[in-house]
């Protein structure tokens, strides 16, 4: 494997046990950093607003992203559209730390994802199941997250994706060696990745939870289900007291297995984002890009 791919996987290892927060302004980025975020995702509109506004959603203005890069010392990520390698090239040119090839934006290609091995900067991609995760890794993604359903504040899809992925991993672990070829065929992924999961019981890259996380309890739930860290999009800056909620979610990820601490953290956080139930939404972003 190339050195660069390994270094990029290793940056994701450094983010583990942390919270990556969506921010739209340098001011929000500073609040996120001070609250203990391990990275920020710079974007013009948070998913809840993208969902509300409708229309085509694209990569953010590089000037806006640069403003956030200057405001904080933690890693800065940004999103490009699925398959839009030119947007990715632009993000690489401004030395972004991680690119999220994201279903939150309108897909630019309904067949091909970006050939991420062509890039020096790392990519994180969303996945609903093990097959999607391994296909993205094969394309060069060095970090995976659940897709969840962004901008809803409803955790059900992230739970569904994480549970499915973990159960498929356990299934591969339990297989006989000679069953792995057929598994690779069914999952539509290369044999060597299937073999890695069979031997190690996990993905070859870090796996975070994303989509619908709104409370410390949501974050703890995802960590207990096997996430190695958490993305919080609309959940923080769409809530009544972003600063306090951000700090509480950061600490909930560290102490995800300690109900007494989680109870304390969940107190008095003000209004959570209102949220929309899965059944009330028309656009399922998780269905974009398979």
């Amino acid at each position: 494997m190339e050195d660069r791919t390994i270094l990029n996987r290793q940056l994701a290892q450094m983010l583990k046990g942390g919270v990556i927060m969506d921010v739209t302004t340098p001011e929000q980025a500073r609040i996120a950093e001070a609250a203990g975020a391990c990275a920020v995702m710079a974007l013009e509109r948070i998913p809840a607003d993208i969902r509300a506004a409708g229309g085509v959603s694209r990569m953010s203005d590089p000037k806006m992203i640069k403003g956030i890069q200057q405001a904080v010392s933690i890693p800065v990520m940004a999103k490009c559209r699925i398959g839009h390698f030119a947007e990715a090239q632009i993000l690489e040119a401004i030395e972004i730390d991680y690119i999220d090839e994201s279903e939150v934006l309108s897909p630019a290609d309904d067949i091909y994802h970006i050939d991420k091995r062509k890039f020096k900067v790392p990519f994180v991609c969303g996945a609903k199941d093990l097959g999607e995760a391994l296909r993205r890794i094969n394309e060069g993604a060095t970090m995976i997250r659940t897709k969840g359903e962004p901008g809803t504040g409803d955790i059900i899809q992230a739970v569904r994706h994480m549970r499915l992925m973990q159960s498929e991993i356990r299934r591969l672990v339990g297989m006989a060696e000679d069953e792995l070829y057929e598994a690779a065929k069914q999952l539509r992924v290369p044999y060597d990745l299937v073999q890695y999961v069979h031997e190690n019981g996990k993905l070859p890259v870090v796996n975070f939870a994303a989509g619908g996380v709104a409370t410390p309890a949501d974050a703890a739930l995802m960590m207990q289900l096997g996430a190695e860290g958490v993305f919080v999009g609309s959940g923080i800056f769409k809530s009544g007291n972003p600063e306090k909620r951000a700090q509480a979610i950061v600490k909930a990820v560290t102490n995800y297995n300690n109900p007494a601490i989680l109870a304390e953290l969940s107190e008095d956080l003000g209004e959570a984002m209102v949220g929309i139930n899965e059944s009330e939404i028309e656009l399922l972003m998780a269905e974009r890009g398979k």
Binding site: Q10, G17, Q69, P75, V121
Partner: protein, 185 residues
């Protein structure tokens, strides 16, 4: 018993490597965990590892959880500590203040500046070094022993019971730096 600060970052990698070397480890996520490992503050064969991750994130949780003072006191009291990358930053003058060094954060720039090297480490020989958005030491006091440099910048140092590296020995298969740390207990 090695306590590994597990507030955020790559603590599991240290845990694996130390267990491979036969050390007993305990993850410290909060003050209660720290207090349960109180006996290790009596020095003896105990140590503390502060892993790589984001130093701002770890600092924030450390202060809010009331871990900052007890950890600082234990190290000043002689508890051997290994700090890697963010862990190096945490031990410098501007953070825990237990080592007479000044760390330059993100000294090699953003992720595109991350790199691998192999350089001489004093007393060990050539070791592989992985730098991820790494710091280096820009100032070191007279009591600090410089253990390794890359391109003229200090990337590993020791002062009494403290050992720091700007790179990540826990990400390679080379166990010699962890062995050095265990020999300090």
């Amino acid at each position: 018993m090695i306590a590994i600060l597990a507030l955020q970052g790559a603590f599991a990698e240290h845990e694996l490597m130390l267990q491979r070397l036969g050390a007993e480890t305990r993850l410290i996520r909060n003050l209660e965990d720290w207090n349960k490992t109180l006996p290790l503050k009596g020095v003896g064969r105990s140590g503390l590892v502060i892993p790589g991750g984001e130093s701002t994130s770890m600092m924030r949780i450390m202060k809010d959880e009331g871990l900052f003072e007890p950890i600082r006191e234990a190290i000043l009291g002689g508890l051997p500590v290994l700090g890697t990358c963010a862990g190096l930053i945490m031990l410098d003058r501007n953070h825990l203040g237990v080592m007479d060094i000044l760390a330059k954060r993100n000294a090699y720039g953003r992720q595109l500046g991350s790199f691998n090297a192999e350089e001489e480490f004093k007393g060990i020989g050539n070791v592989p070094m992985t730098f991820i958005r790494a710091p280096y030491i820009e100032e070191a006091g007279p009591d600090v022993e410089i253990l390794a440099t890359v391109d003229g910048k200090i990337v590993a140092a020791r002062q009494a019971n403290t050992l720091v590296t700007a790179f990540h020995p826990e990400l390679t298969d080379d166990t010699r730096i962890h062995e050095l740390f265990l020999s300090m207990l």
